[in-house]
Symmetry: C2
Subunit: 337 residues, 2 copies
């Protein structure tokens, strides 16, 4: 029996309906300082002196449940910081400050401190100050042992060209490897791995010298290190951080109406974890690509001339496709393979 | 039998232990841009051009459960915005942008949209842009029907004197009325009102032409409107937003070591809701003052000469006490009454 995201308890249609209806509410609050629309990777705010800030919010999602199962709480904070850092990088911004929110049903100081240890490590590695935080104990809200972790980031716009997204036909798509599932699609992955496959976090992962917990908790990569210089050198026209919605969803968000992105299947290695989830869950390839990053955590759009210097500087940068004139409904197509 | 906050499921000691241990983690992330320490109402971030930002994060807490019981979701968002606005106002800042995070077990678009309607109303009323948001569906995390709502605010430092808190002996404490419980102490209030008293949200509130739900959901007041001009005119030396920890906890946060705040009991009216909770829960007066705002949502510290013009401009501004030399351990004392 084929598993869908809805079977795993996540209703993407409901989220899309809510998002549409929220748009006018958001528009009603617009002030002169707001610089960009709704729905990109972060919001832009212009300050008086020509300085522009970018802010974004995200949660870790149900990867947290894996941390709880594994009793390993010091990595999810770094996941969260890196996720937020990548989001504002895709808006041309470099992080200034991060704030976290931790909520649970019954507060265990050991757990909170381990969680914040990961947040602080992520902040240090990205040169970002942990400026504040809130810890909430909410009896009756959270099921036994689980907690939620939310992050807010503020950065400074340093690469306006990346924010402008002046993508052109013929531009090259450069993919950067993900470290695994990162932080999206975990409700789906859990349904397959813990549900259908009946694995536990301590079990060995099929074919790897690592446990299921270790593989699932691999930290979401930050792309600020590898991409900062490329952005500063003007070699990047746009960035898509591949999270919820996958390559099709996130590439659509950065493309103009008349252009498409054609990805060459086989030009990058899809990590085996995705093959296992697809096979064991009997999931369609289309759905896999809409839920998971499939091995690419960030896609950069570059003019052809910039590809060689880019690849010299960033070892894992791979050519994975090209910008083409859009034909038909789909913004994103997959060829070959 | 006397009810304590711990009986109501909230362990303030655990939170305090976690906070202490987080301090060094937070310090490890410090960058040159960070301007203030840990533990105030918001964090300060200096930008290159001499501009300073203040950011803060907060959740609505278990007031959300009352909204769920009452099926009324369009007010808690305004509570959250106002709470955050007051926090950064106590740091001398005026709001620029707000971001929200909504998480639940099963997404109901109607509920999300109502919640965001309240957030947007709060943003409009405070002149703050709703710059972004995240909606998370996390199966298995939240107990049936409840959700969490978190807000993040960024403002601009406009009143550096308020942030500096140069409080002096003889300064006057001016209290501004709260609209009720605001957003703190709800786990406690729920334990008494729904637990001990056995009331339902639709029941009439004892002695008032309003239901229990209406009284409990009264919106947390924003003090930006009444206080903005007072701060701009330089009439305010410091502000304490009275939330978790109550008057003793929040006044301690703004006072120097050698000064105390002496509040005159009977100088303001404690709303009847607090009398009822105290009586029905058999709670000590000390604990009541550490959990609830007891009728004062914001306390301003002003030089004596500024009190008359302040009171002319702000109708509900009441003299509630005075800054005195500190004697003994307590930063905050209550006299008379």
């Amino acid at each position: 029996m084929s598993l869908s995201y809805r079977d795993a308890g996540v209703d993407r249609d409901a989220a899309a309906i809510a998002k549409l209806r929220m748009r006018e509410l958001v528009d009603s609050t617009r002030t002169d300082a707001v610089r960009a629309g709704f729905g990109s990777f972060g919001g832009h705010l212009a300050l008086a002196e020509g300085e522009e800030l970018v802010a974004s919010v995200d949660g870790v999602g149900t990867k947290l449940e894996v941390a709880v199962r594994a009793g390993r709480h010091d990595t999810v904070g770094e996941d969260l910081v890196n996720h937020c850092v990548n989001d504002i990088l895709a808006e041309g911004a470099v992080p200034l400050a991060f704030l976290d929110y931790f909520a649970c049903g019954k507060l265990d100081p050991e757990v909170v401190v381990e969680v914040v240890r990961g947040v602080a490590r992520g902040c240090r590695r990205n040169g970002c100050a942990l400026l504040g935080g809130e810890t909430a104990e909410m009896p009756g809200f959270y099921r036994g042992g689980v907690y939620d972790l939310v992050g807010f980031i503020v950065g400074r716009l340093e690469f306006p060209a990346v924010a402008a997204r002046e993508v052109r036909g013929g531009d090259v798509l450069i993919g950067l490897e993900s470290s695994g599932i990162h932080t999206n699609g975990f409700s789906f992955a859990r349904a397959v791995i813990f549900g259908r496959m009946g694995l536990e976090v301590g079990d060995p992962w099929p074919g790897l010298p690592a446990s299921v917990g270790e593989v699932l908790l691999r930290v979401h990569r930050s792309y600020l290190g590898p991409l900062r210089e490329e952005c500063a050198a003007g070699r990047v026209r746009a960035l898509a951080h591949i999270t919820g919605g996958g390559i099709p969803g996130k590439m659509s968000a950065i493309l103009p109406e008349h252009l498409g992105a054609d990805f060459q299947r086989g030009s990058w290695t899809v990590p085996r974890i995705f093959d296992i989830i697809q096979h064991e869950g009997d999931v369609s390839t289309e759905e896999m690509y809409e839920v998971f990053n499939m091995g690419l955590g960030m896609v950069a759009v570059c003019p052809e001339d910039n590809v060689s210097p880019f690849q010299e500087q960033v070892p894992d940068a791979q050519i994975v496709g090209r910008i083409i004139p859009r034909e038909g409904d789909a913004h994103v197509t997959f060829s070959g393979g």
